[in-house]
């Protein structure tokens, strides 16, 4: 476990995780653990998120005022914090999604010719 690898991973998550959180909250206010579960579940467990990294991301989004937080009670009647999208966050989600689509499309276009060449 070298420090260099850790650093790479953080960079990979930055932004992407934010986008996933925003997308999850689109369905309604959710508490921390449930957000992590939802991301895992919706991505068919492909994305193995280190759950801890959720918290810096949530705080980052709160600081940017894209989401807000509210005290409440969870399903099993415990004190819990519910995170929800703000109007600004909703707008940002559209922007971020289209950005992501563009990026994914661009990367796909770059990678596809390479695949074709390697096949024959």
């Amino acid at each position: 476990m070298s420090t260099k690898a850790q650093k790479d991973r953080i960079e990979l998550l930055q932004g992407t995780l934010d986008l996933l959180i925003l997308r999850t909250l689109l369905l309604g206010p959710t508490h921390g653990h449930a957000i992590a579960k939802a991301i895992e579940f919706n991505s068919d467990d492909v994305l193995q998120v280190e759950q801890g990294s959720l918290y810096p991301a949530l705080h980052r989004l709160i600081k940017k005022r894209w989401i807000s937080v509210e005290e409440g009670t969870s399903e099993n009647n415990r004190r819990a914090k519910f995170y929800q999208l703000t109007a600004q966050g909703r707008r940002q989600l559209v922007v971020e999604t289209s950005k992501w689509d563009k990026l994914a499309g661009a990367i796909a276009r770059i990678l596809r010719p390479a695949e074709q060449k390697s096949k024959p």
């Binding site: 070298s2 653990h33 759950q51 801890g52 918290y55 810096p56 705080h59 709160i62 914090k81």
Partner: protein, 861 residues
Amino acid sequence: MNRRQRMLHDLDQDIRDHIEVETQDNIARGMSPEEARYAALRKFGNVTRVKEETREVWSLVWLEQLLQDIRLGLRMLRKSPGFTAVAILTLALGIGANTAIFSVINGVLLSPLPYKDPQQLVVIQEHDSLPNVLEIQKQVRAFSQGGGINVQRMDYTGGTEPVQLRVGLIDAAFLELLGVQPMLGRIISPAEDVQGGPRLAMVTHHFWQNFLGSDPRAIGNTIHLGGNSYTVIGVMPASFAPPMEHADVFVSLWAGDPGTAADRSVHSLHTYWRLKEGVTLAQAQSEMAAFDRRLAEQYPAEERERRTKLVPLHEWLVGDVRPALLVLFGAVGLVLLIACANFASLLMVRAVAGRQELVIRAALGAGRGRLIRKTLTESTLLSVLGGAAGLLFAKWGTSMLLALRPEQLERLSGINMDTRVLLFVLVLSVLTGIVFGMVPACIAARADVAEALKESGRSTTASSMGHKIRKILVTSELAVALVLLVGAGLLIKGFSRLRSMNPGFNSANVMTMYLQLPTTRYREIPKQTQFRREVLARVNSLPGLEAAMVTDIPLGGNYVGHRLVIDGRPPVAVGGEPIVQTLTVMGNYFRVMQIPLRAGRDFTPMDREGQPRVAVLNEEMVREFFPHENPIGKRIGWAGDAGPPQWMTVIGVVADVKHSGLNQPTDPAVYTPFAQNDERWKRFMTLVIRAGDLSPGLVEDVKKQIWSVDSQIPVSDVHPMDELIAVSLAQQRFNMLLLGLFAALALILAAVGIYGAMSYSVNQRRHEIGIRTALGAQGWDVLRLVLKDGAKIALFGIIFGIAGALALTRLMASLLFEVKPTDPATFAAVAILLALVALAACYIPARRAMRVDPMVTLRYE
């Protein structure tokens, strides 16, 4: 509670809840509680780091971390006081020396001159006469203003004892040009600065304090200068002084010396000019060239040889000292480099030693950047502390520089620690810490955690790399020290050459004092001659001394030249005659000064008024003008006199005297007797006295004899001849002492560097040495093993140092006297010195290595 505090307030609780929920989920999936909790924790990741990163979202992270690093750093430094002290002292020496020299450079080269728009001011290198100055003011368009000054000594008789003052004879435009606002009263107006104008005086602040009792109503007072009375109309501010000249009082040239003011051929004024906005020096120079041509056509007898050269004032003032200061600054920069190399190698040792700690921090999740930053904070902390200590050294160093300063660095009085100097120290310290902390920091942070933890303690890779870098550092230190030593060696050699130059006279046991007769009472030459005879007779009546007189003593800074004609030679165009130095003497001047007579005879009391006029030449004069003939009996005279020349017969030849400085060539010179003097303006003389001992009592006795002839004659510039020689060498001595000091500092630092590196290496190799000893190696073998290592470093250091010195010493060629910048003897001597010091520095650790007890080391391992 602000947003940040509120958000972070229950972060711990959130995280605990999260893990709890996950654990419950896991239990629900059928795991044992213990297993469930472990899985939840693993899935969550590093709790501490999550908290840290979350906190970072909300904080000014860098600031918080910086403060944290500084606190940590200070704690670490306190924990190892030895290391801290050595590191700070090393840097303090380097930074202190740099700061001291920089404050000199700042004061002398960088600060603007204290005049209005000083960048527009230029100097005409040649002196000029007032009629010509007035023409330039009228005709030359390149200048908006300009004026001149000539300082003459006049006696002031208002005090208890007659004193001699320096009176600046000026034209009205001079003070206006410099933009000086009088502190009291006013300055002279152009309408008053005319032939027959009123006698008005503007006094300096210094004069006002000393002679006018700082009286705020001093304006309107009358003072007596050179036998005339002047009305005080203004007092200058304390900050004001002419750029080059020293003066106590300023009066109009018309009032102070009307004869000179009216005479186009007497070029007495040193002139300063202000370039008009947008006019370049070159434009002004070419306009002056055209002016020179016009003037030469108009007045061929006086102005035939005009070659006006303009020099920017600042360059004129500092041109002489700039090369020396820059060389010193370069040298002191090299000292800092050595200090920094030592500093870096200290840090390196520490970085290697402290690697375990860093590795643990990395294992706990510290990022690499963070680790580098932490190490850098520590090194910068040290360097800033070093800088602060360096300021103390610098303060002490500058006062030492001030005490040593030669006259050419008079502007040094204005040096102090201003903001620019403080900024310089700050930038220097921080840069030192960062740049020289970088390599050790990177080495430390390269640590591969898993690898390092396995290694546990006896590290190999990082430390061997560190050791290699240290060797490079020490080698460069030795090389740089060699460059400095060569520089210092060259200066020392040049200085000793200069010191051992034969000045042409024997300065030991000679006292000199300057006398000047006032025009009012000694206008006529016979009265002057009578005074001189009388004074000499009375002084010579004192026991145990012999006295004589001369117009200008060697190294006294004064020089009079006349245009020479030789009887029987084809005539030279008017104004084109060669100029030779002229000296007038009375008494046994050559015997008192012990200037050897080479041919013919000395003057005798018979060579007096009414007798055939005679002259004695110096050898240079004979070489130049009588190379293949016997000069004795030849007749010479001065050009420019009305009517036929008054021929003087050459009666003797004396040895050359270094009149203008030991490093200056000797000019052809003619000595004539005062008794046959026909120039009224030669009202001044220097008494030279050779005595068994030069006690203050002697000076008092001589003064009494002078005042018994005329109690109103001031006696000034009382100096032993030896002192004049010392003063003339001051600049060279200053350069030599400073560079020598820096070189010594460099040598010590480099010796400490190589000593440190070798001690460390011996320590690292204890194990190996122990085994070797166990296998039968003798003390001598071990010694050789260690010394070989040190010798290799020293050898490379010397080779690179010689290469560097060959490249750099030519920059100081202008500071050297009769020594080539590549003087092989100096290079060899310095290389040997450095090798010896390096080996001595290695010898101590080598001795320690010899005493290594194999049993102890092997068991210890």
